[in-house]
C-alpha cells in the first residue's frame, strides 16, 4: 500500500478498505480476551445476543452471570466494548419498537434523531457469531485437553471433582504432592502449583467461581461425553 506523505513530514496511511470478516473477528477476539475477568462475560453476551435483545435485557443478563461479580466494569460498559469492537450491532428502535431505517433519519438534526429513538436493541453480527463458535467451551476444552497429555487425567479428575462446589483449598489438597505437578515444571525445574489446573480450566470455560469452583454446563457436557467414550 502506498503511504501518503503530509506537508509536515508525518507519515499517514491511505484510507483502508472495509475490513473483512476474518479481520473483524480477529479484532473482536482481541477485545474479548483483553481482560481475563471479562472474557467469559463477553463470550456469553455475544452468545446471548445471537438473538436480538433489548438493552435492559442484555444488562440484566450480564449482571446475572457469576463472573460479573468479579468484573471491573458496569454491564453497559461491558456491552459497549463489544459494540465498539464490532461484535454486536446496535439497532435503534422507535416508540413502536420498530427498527429505524436509515432513510428515516436522513436530514434530521441530532436532537430530532434523538427524539425518534425510544430504545436500543443489540444483535451479534457475523464476526461475533464466528467468535462465539470459535470460543465455545467445548472447543477450548478439547484443545486444552490435548496440549499436555500428562495433564489429561488430572483435568478430567478436577472437572469431575467440581461437579460439586469446592474451594481452592480442597482442590489444592487433592492435588498437592502429586507426580503430575512435576510434569509441568518450569525452566527452574520447579513443580507447578495446583492452581495451574484451575487457571487453565477456567480459561477454557470449563469451570467458574461462585463462592467456590464449579463445573460449567459445557464442561459437564464434555465430561459426560468423554466418560461415555471411555466406557465404550
Amino acid at each position: 500500500m502506498m503511504e501518503a506523505s503530509q506537508a509536515d513530514g508525518t507519515s499517514s496511511a491511505a484510507p483502508k478498505p472495509p475490513a473483512g470478516l476474518e479481520e473483524r473477528t480477529s479484532r473482536l477476539n482481541k477485545v474479548v480476551n483483553r481482560n481475563p475477568t471479562h472474557r467469559e462475560i463477553h463470550y456469553k453476551t455475544l452468545r446471548y445476543c445471537l438473538t436480538q435483545r433489548l438493552e435492559h435485557e442484555v444488562e440484566e443478563h450480564i449482571a446475572s452471570f457469576p463472573e460479573f461479580g468479579y468484573a471491573s466494569q458496569s454491564p453497559y460498559h461491558l456491552l459497549s466494548f463489544l459494540v465498539e469492537s464490532g461484535g454486536i450491532d446496535v439497532i435503534e428502535l422507535d416508540h413502536d419498537g420498530l427498527p429505524i431505517a436509515p432513510e428515516r433519519v436522513s436530514g434530521l438534526s441530532e436532537d430530532e434523531h434523538d427524539d425518534l429513538v425510544a430504545q436500543y436493541s443489540y444483535k451479534t453480527n457475523d464476526a461475533g457469531e464466528r467468535l462465539v463458535e470459535q470460543m465455545s467451551p467445548k472447543n477450548r476444552l478439547e484443545e486444552l485437553l490435548g496440549i499436555v497429555p500428562d495433564y489429561y487425567e488430572t483435568y478430567i479428575e478436577v472437572l469431575g471433582f467440581l461437579q460439586e462446589r469446592h474451594d481452592l483449598g480442597s482442590i489444592d489438597t487433592l492435588l498437592r504432592g502429586r507426580d503430575v505437578l512435576m510434569a509441568g515444571r518450569d525452566p527452574d525445574d520447579r513443580p507447578i502449583q495446583p492452581s495451574v489446573f484451575i487457571d487453565k480450566l477456567e480459561k477454557a470455560g470449563g469451570i467458574y467461581w461462585e463462592n467456590g469452583w464449579l463445573i460449567t454446563s459445557e464442561g459437564k457436557e464434555l465430561l459426560d461425553t468423554l466418560r461415555e467414550k471411555k466406557e465404550d
Binding site: 483483553r34 481482560n35 481475563p36 504432592g177 507447578i192
Partner: protein, 1069 residues
C-alpha cells in the same frame, strides 16, 4: 457560568467521562461546560520553604517559594555542600510536573475497555478505591491462592521500593519486580557488598561521596579538604544524569585540577572534558578491564602490601570447587589461633618457600600472590594467579581490537590511574544493562582493591556514615559481618532468613533456632513460609543475586504471566511510572497484559502504562506535596522535605498500599474465620487462623526442612501447623497510612515541636545553619570529623585483631568467593533451606586462556570478557549483516528515567530522542542531521531524529529512552499509548543470555539497522505544539463544576507571567 451548546447525544457521550473530567487534567477528557474565568488575587505574601529536589535520586537541597499556596519558584540551596546553590532542568521543571495537566488528582477507575485508544476514566472516592483494590486482591487470593498477587515498582518519580518489596510478602506471595534493579544498580550494589561488605562505586546512587567533600566554602572553612586527584568515570556521566549535584561536583573537581578518565561510547560532557576518554565499544568493558589488570600486574603497579594483607588474591584455590582452600583441608589437625568466624586459608609462603596456613592478621608468612603448584594431588593456583591467567590474553593490542580504543590511549589512562597516590573508580549503569552486569563491577571494585584505593582520603571505596558502614558505636568495633537479604540485609533481621557472613555456622544456626528468629511474629512456621517464598520466587534458581533486593527475574515473571507456569501472577499492584517505556522489549509485555485480571497503579501522572493497562489509579503526591519525599541527604548534610503545597486528593506513596493491605487482610481473615480455606502457595491450604499468629513448627521435626530443596509441593507439612493470617509476617513496611504521622515524624527529626511549628518557623527548623553560618545545627550537619573517617579496617576490633571487612575472609575478596557459593545453593540468601544449584548452562567458558580454565555451572568470581550476543563483529557468533550497527543508550539532561516527558519546556528543548551517529554513518545511510530515522532491531522498529557528531564511532549509535504523552492527548484524532513510536525499549532484548548472577537482560549494546524515516503520527516537535502541557490557570481539575468540588480548598494555579487574556489551554472547559 457560561453554558456551551450541547446536544442530548453529546451529553450522553460526555456523561461517562464527566467524573474523570473532575479528577484529571482537562487535556485528557471531554468537556461539559465552560468554566468561569477565575484567578487568584494579586499575591500578598511570598514565603520560602526548604526542600529537596526529587527530579532524580541525588536529591539536591533547594528552596521553594510559594505565593497564595502556589509554588512559583525553585532554586538550589546555597548551603548545599555539593550542588552549591545550583539546580538542574529536572529540578526547575518540577513546577511543570506539580502543575501538569497530566496530574491525577483523585482516584480513577477505568470506565472503558483497556487500551489507550478509547481510555475513559471515572472519578471515585478513596473509600471506594481502597475497597475495589482490596476486593480484587482478596478475591484473587481466595480463588487462585496467594501467588496470584504481584507487585512492581520503579526508580523514577515515585520511590516506593520498601512498599513494593514487602507488599507481596504481606500477602504470602514471592513476586515483585522493577525494570531497574538487575538492569540498574543492583549488580554494582551487590557485587561491592559481596567483595568487601561495603558500599559500591556508583556516583548516581549516592554511594560515592568522597570526591565531593570539601567543595563547599563552609566546609572548607572548617578544614575539610578535597582529596580526590584522579577519578575514573567508568560508564558514568554525572554531568547529565545528576547535573546539579555530582555534575556540578565534577566541574568543581576538574577546576581544582583533578584528572578524570572517562570510559564511555558516548561523547558525554564528562567525556569531552576528560583528561583521557576511552571511547569503548558498547558491552566490551570486560576486555578493557582485563587489559588494565594485565598491565597493572605486569608492570607491578598494584599495591603489593595491600594485596598480600588485605585481599584474598594470595589464597590457594581448589580447582574443583573454585573456592579457596581452608588451612584445615591441607594441614590435618591444624588449629587456627584466630576466632572461628575468621578462618585460616592456605598460601605459598615466600619465607619458607612452602605452602603454609595463612591466618588473618599473621605477619609470620609472606604470601606469594601469583603461584601455581600441586596441593592435595590437584594442580592449584592462587586467586591472584587465576586473575593473572584470565587477564593474560588481553594485551593493550588485543583490548584495542576488541574495544575500538587505541592502545596508547588505554595505556595513558592506566598510568594516570595506577601511578596516582590515590584514585578511585566511579562505575555507572551501562554494565547493569548488559550480560556483563556482574563482570564489570567485579573488575572495577577489584581494580581499586589491588591498588589499595580503599578507605583512604580521595578514594571512592571509602566507608563513612553516609555509606554502608553506618555511624560508629562506642567501644572497640566487632568483627564486621554482612547481611544480604533486602537493603542492608534488613530481611535477615526482620524475617530471620539468610546467612550472616562473618558469623560462624553455629552462630547462624543459633540465630535461626531462636524463637522467633527475627523480628517477625510467627516463629519457625513463618520462617518456613518466608524461606519457601525465596525458593519459589520466579527465576531465582539461576539468578540468585536478585535476592539482594528481594526481586523476581523479570523475564521469568513475564513468562509466568503468559503461560501460567508454575503459577500465574494475575493481580498487579504497580507503584511507579511508565512500565512500557522502561521494561525491555516493551511489546512483549504489552502482549501479556491480557492475562492480568486487574491492574492497580499509583502514580502522580497518567503514563502510557496507566492509559493502556490500569484498571484503578491512586493519585500520589508530587515532590512538593509529599513530606519526607527524599531522605537521601547530601554528604554530611541533611535537609528537610516538607509538604509545601497540595492539590486534589493526592496522598503520600505509603498511604494506598497500607490501606489496601489492611482492607484486603480483613477480608481474607474474615474468610478464614468463616472456615474458608486460603491456599498459601508456600504451604498449601490453610484454615481458620483468624487474627492469631502462626503456630510454631519445629525445624528438627520436619523432615523436609532437612532434606528438601525447592520442593514446594513435596514438603509434606501438615497445613494445620501453618495457621497463618494476613498480613503475613511483618506485613507492609515503609511509611504510614496517615499523612499526619509522616509529617509529625519528619518535623520532629528536625527538632520541631509540631508540624505547624516546622512550617511556620522555617529559619529555625528548616535551615541547617544559624545566623552567620558559623553554627551548624547538628540535626542537619554531622561533624565532618565524625563523618569523614578512613582506615577503619585497620582499627583494632573487640577480638584484638584488625577490624577488616565484612566478608568470610575478613579481607577484600577480589576473587569473589561468595558468588561461587551462591551459585551452588543460594548462599547467603537461602538459609536455612537452600536453593537448587544453577544449571550447567550458567557461567562462561573463558576462551583464549592459557591454561584453559572454565566457570561452567557456577558464577564467575572474577571479571571476564563476553562478546555481546548481538555482535557487530563479523565472524562472531552473534553477527548478522542485517543489523550491522551497535546501539547503546544513556541519559540526557532533561529527564530522569521515564519522568518529565510531559514538561513543556523540557520537551521544547528535547522534543524527540536523538539518534546520535557519526556524520559518515549518516551519509552512508542517506541521512542528514535532524532527519527522521527508523531504527530496527530483531524486536521491532522505532523512530528518532538524527544527531550527527564526529565524537561517535562510525559503527555505534546512541539514543535515550523516550515516550510521548502527547499521543493520548484529547486533541489527537487517533490516540495511542505513546510508547511504540520513539521508545528504544521497543527494540531492546529481554531474552537470554542473561547476566548469570542477576539475570540482567540487554538494554544496551545490541545491533540494529537504520534507514530514513518519517515523523510518527501524533508526535509533537514544535514549541507551540507543547502548549497543552503548560500549567495554566485552567489546568487543574478546575472546570465548570469546580465550585461543587469545594474549589476554594484548592488553589488556582497562577504564574507571574500569566496572561489573563490568553485562551485557556487546558481543553476549553
Amino acid at each position: 457560568m457560561q453554558k456551551v451548546t450541547m446536544t442530548r447525544r453529546s451529553f450522553v457521550k460526555s456523561a461517562t467521562v464527566a467524573g474523570a473530567a473532575l479528577a484529571l487534567s482537562t487535556r485528557l477528557t471531554g468537556s461539559l461546560v465552560e468554566a468561569d474565568q477565575a484567578w487568584a488575587a494579586t499575591p500578598t505574601d511570598r514565603k520560602m520553604y526548604v526542600s529537596i529536589c526529587h527530579g532524580c535520586i541525588q536529591a539536591c537541597p533547594c528552596r521553594v517559594y510559594v505565593e497564595d499556596n502556589i509554588a512559583v519558584k525553585i532554586e538550589g540551596h546555597p548551603l548545599a555542600p555539593t550542588n552549591l546553590g545550583s539546580l538542574c532542568l529536572k529540578g526547575l521543571n518540577q513546577l511543570h510536573t506539580m502543575y501538569s495537566p497530566r496530574r491525577v488528582l483523585y482516584p480513577l477507575k477505568r470506565a472503558g475497555d483497556r487500551g489507550a485508544e478509547n481510555a475513559k476514566w471515572e472519578r471515585i472516592s478513596w473509600d471506594d478505591a481502597i475497597e475495589l483494590a482490596a476486593s480484587k486482591i482478596a478475591d484473587a487470593i481466595e480463588k487462585y491462592g496467594t501467588y496470584s498477587f504481584f507487585a512492581s515498582v520503579g526508580g523514577g518519580g515515585a520511590y516506593s521500593f520498601m512498599q513494593a518489596m514487602t507488599i507481596p510478602m504481606a500477602f504470602g506471595s514471592p513476586t515483585v519486580f522493577e525494570p531497574g534493579c538487575a538492569q540498574c544498580y543492583l549488580p554494582r550494589f551487590s557485587i561491592a557488598n559481596y567483595m568487601y561488605g561495603g558500599s559500591d562505586q556508583s556516583i548516581a546512587d549516592c554511594a560515592v561521596l568522597e570526591p565531593f567533600k570539601g567543595l563547599s566554602p563552609y566546609e572548607a572553612a572548617r578544614g575539610v579538604s578535597q582529596d580526590t586527584k584522579v577519578i575514573v568515570l567508568w560508564g558514568a556521566q554525572p554531568s547529565v544524569s545528576q547535573t546539579a549535584q555530582s555534575g556540578r561536583g565534577m566541574a568543581e573537581l576538574r577546576a581544582k585540577g583533578c584528572k578524570t578518565i572517562v570510559v564511555d561510547p558516548n561523547m558525554s560532557p564528562d567525556a569531552v572534558k576528560a583528561t583521557v576518554w576511552l571511547r569503548v565499544r558498547p558491552a566490551t568493558d570486560g576486555a578493557l578491564i582485563l587489559a588494565w589488570y594485565r598491565y597493572i600486574f605486569e608492570k607491578k603497579l598494584y599495591d603489593e602490601q595491600f594485596v598480600k594483607t588485605w585481599t584474598n588474591l594470595p589464597f590457594v584455590v581448589d580447582p574443583d570447587t573454585h573456592l579457596p582452600l581452608y588451612a584445615r583441608e591441607v594441614f590435618p589437625g591444624y588449629q587456627q589461633s584466630t576466632p572461628a568466624n575468621t578462618p585460616a586459608y592456605v598460601c605459598f609462603d615466600l619465607n619458607t618457600n612452602a605452602l603454609q596456613p595463612l591466618e588473618y592478621g599473621s605477619t609470620s608468612v609472606n604470601p606469594e600472590v601469583f603461584w601455581k603448584g600441586e596441593v592435595n594431588g590437584k594442580q592449584c593456583r592462587t586467586a591472584g594467579q587465576i586473575y593473572k591467567d584470565t587477564a593474560e590474553p588481553y594485551t593493550l593490542q588485543k583490548a584495542a581490537e576488541i574495544c575500538w580504543v587505541p592502545e596508547e590511549t588505554i595505556e595513558e589512562a592506566i598510568k594516570i590511574y595506577a601511578e596516582a597516590p590515590v584514585a578511585g573508580i566511579a562505575n555507572g549503569v551501562p554494565s547493569d544493562m548488559q550480560q556483563i552486569a556482574s563482570q564489570v563491577p567485579l573488575g572495577c571494585c577489584g581494580l581499586d582493591m589491588i591498588m589499595g584505593y580503599v578507605n583512604k582520603p580521595g578514594a571512592t571505596l571509602t566507608q563513612n556514615p553516609g555509606g554502608m558502614g553506618g555511624p560508629a558505636l562506642p567501644g572497640p568495633p566487632p568483627r564486621p559481618t554482612t547481611s544480604f537479604n533486602g537493603f542492608g540485609g534488613m530481611f535477615n533481621m526482620v524475617y530471620g532468613i539468610g546467612y550472616v557472613v562473618g558469623a560462624t555456622e553455629e552462630e547462624n544456626a543459633a540465630r535461626i533456632a531462636a524463637q522467633p528468629p527475627g523480628m517477625m511474629p510467627g516463629g519457625q512456621g513463618a520462617l518456613y513460609v518466608m524461606n519457601q517464598l525465596l525458593l519459589d520466587r520466579l527465576g531465582m534458581k539461576n539468578h540468585k543475586g536478585l535476592y539482594q533486593w528481594a526481586h523476581s527475574h523479570i523475564p521469568s515473571v513475564l513468562e509466568a504471566i503468559k503461560t501460567g507456569i508454575p503459577y500465574k501472577p494475575r493481580v498487579w499492584y504497580d507503584m511507579s511510572g511508565n512500565k512500557l517505556a522502561m521494561l525491555g522489549n516493551a511489546g512483549s509485555w504489552y502482549d501479556a497484559f491480557k492475562e492480568v485480571d486487574f491492574c492497580i497503579c499509583q502514580y502522580p501522572m497518567l503514563t502510557s502504562f496507566q492509559v493502556e493497562t490500569a484498571d484503578l489509579v491512586f493519585p500520589l503526591e508530587e515532590w512538593l506535596e509529599a513530606t519526607g519525599a527524599s531522605e537521601f541527604g547530601q554528604l554530611n548534610y541533611r535537609f528537610p522535605s516538607p509538604g509545601i503545597v497540595h492539590l486534589g486528593e493526592t496522598v503520600p506513596n505509603s498511604v494506598p498500599p497500607q490501606k489496601v493491605v489492611n482492607a484486603a487482610s480483613k477480608k481474607l481473615n474474615d474468610a478464614l474465620a468463616a472456615g474458608r480455606q486460603i491456599v498459601f502457595g508456600a504451604t498449601g491450604a490453610v484454615t481458620g487462623a483468624g487474627p492469631a499468629t502462626p503456630s510454631q513448627s519445629s525445624t528438627a521435626k520436619d523432615d523436609e526442612l532437612q532434606t528438601s530443596k525447592n520442593a514446594t509441593v513435596y514438603h509434606g507439612n501438615d497445613p494445620a501447623q501453618f495457621e497463618l493470617s494476613f498480613p503475613f509476617g511483618m506485613g507492609l513496611m515503609g511509611g504510614s497510612q496517615e499523612e499526619s504521622v509522616i509529617q509529625q515524624t519528619h518535623a520532629a527529626s528536625f527538632g520541631a515541636p509540631s508540624y505547624q511549628a516546622f512550617m511556620d518557623d522555617v529559619g529555625t527548623y528548616q535551615e541547617p545553619f544559624g545566623a552567620g553560618y558559623d553554627t551548624p545545627n547538628p540535626l542537619f550537619v554531622t561533624d565532618p570529623k565524625a563523618y569523614w573517617v578512613y582506615g577503619q579496617h585497620l582499627e583494632t576490633a573487640a577480638d584484638g585483631l584488625p577490624v577488616g571487612f565484612g566478608t568470610e575472609s575478613r579481607k577484600c575478596e577480589v576473587y569473589c568467593t561468595l558468588l561461587v557459593k551462591m551459585a551452588k545453593d543460594g548462599h547467603p540468601y537461602c538459609y536455612p533451606r537452600a536453593q537448587e544449584p544453577v544449571d550447567i548452562s550458567i557461567g562462561q567458558e573463558i576462551k583464549d586462556q592459557n591454561p584453559s580454565y572454565e566457570y561452567v555451572g557456577t558464577y564467575s568470581p572474577i571479571c571476564q570478557h563476553i562478546e555481546p550476543i548481538e555482535s557487530p563483529i563479523e565472524g562472531e557468533l552473534g553477527y548478522d549483516p542485517e543489523y550491522p550497527l551497535v546501539i547503546t543508550s544513556g541519559r540526557v539532561y532533561y529527564f530522569h528515567h521515564g519522568t518529565m516527558r510531559h514538561a513543556a519546556f523540557a520537551r521544547e528543548l528535547y522534543p524527540v530522542p536523538d539518534v546520535r551517529m557519526h556524520p559518515k554513518t549518516a551519509e552512508k545511510y542517506g541521512l542528514k542531521h535532524m532527519d527522521w530515522v527508523e531504527v530496527t532491531s530483531r524486536r521491532g522498529t522505532i523512530t528518532g531524529r538524527v544527531y550527527t557528531h564526529a565524537g561517535m564511532h562510525e559503527g555505534v549509535l546512541w539514543m535515550e529512552r523516550f515516550w510521548n504523552p502527547e499521543c493520548f492527548d484529547s486533541s489527537q484524532s487517533h490516540k495511542t499509548g505513546g510508547w511504540r513510536e520513539c521508545n528504544i525499549n521497543v527494540i531492546t532484548k529481554n531474552t537470554a543470555p542473561y547476566n548469570e548472577v542477576f539475570g540482567s537482560y540487554t538494554n544496551r549494546g545490541f545491533t540494529v539497522n537504520i534507514k530514513p524515516g518519517k515523523r510518527p503520527e501524533g508526535i509533537w516537535v514544535q514549541p507551540k505544539e507543547f502548549e497543552p502541557f503548560l500549567p495554566t490557570q485552567n489546568n487543574q481539575y478546575v472546570d465548570g463544576l469546580g465550585s461543587a468540588l469545594k474549589l476554594e480548598q484548592t488553589p488556582i494555579v497562577k504564574f507571574s507571567d500569566w496572561d489573563p487574556n490568553a485562551a485557556p489551554m487546558g481543553g476549553g472547559l
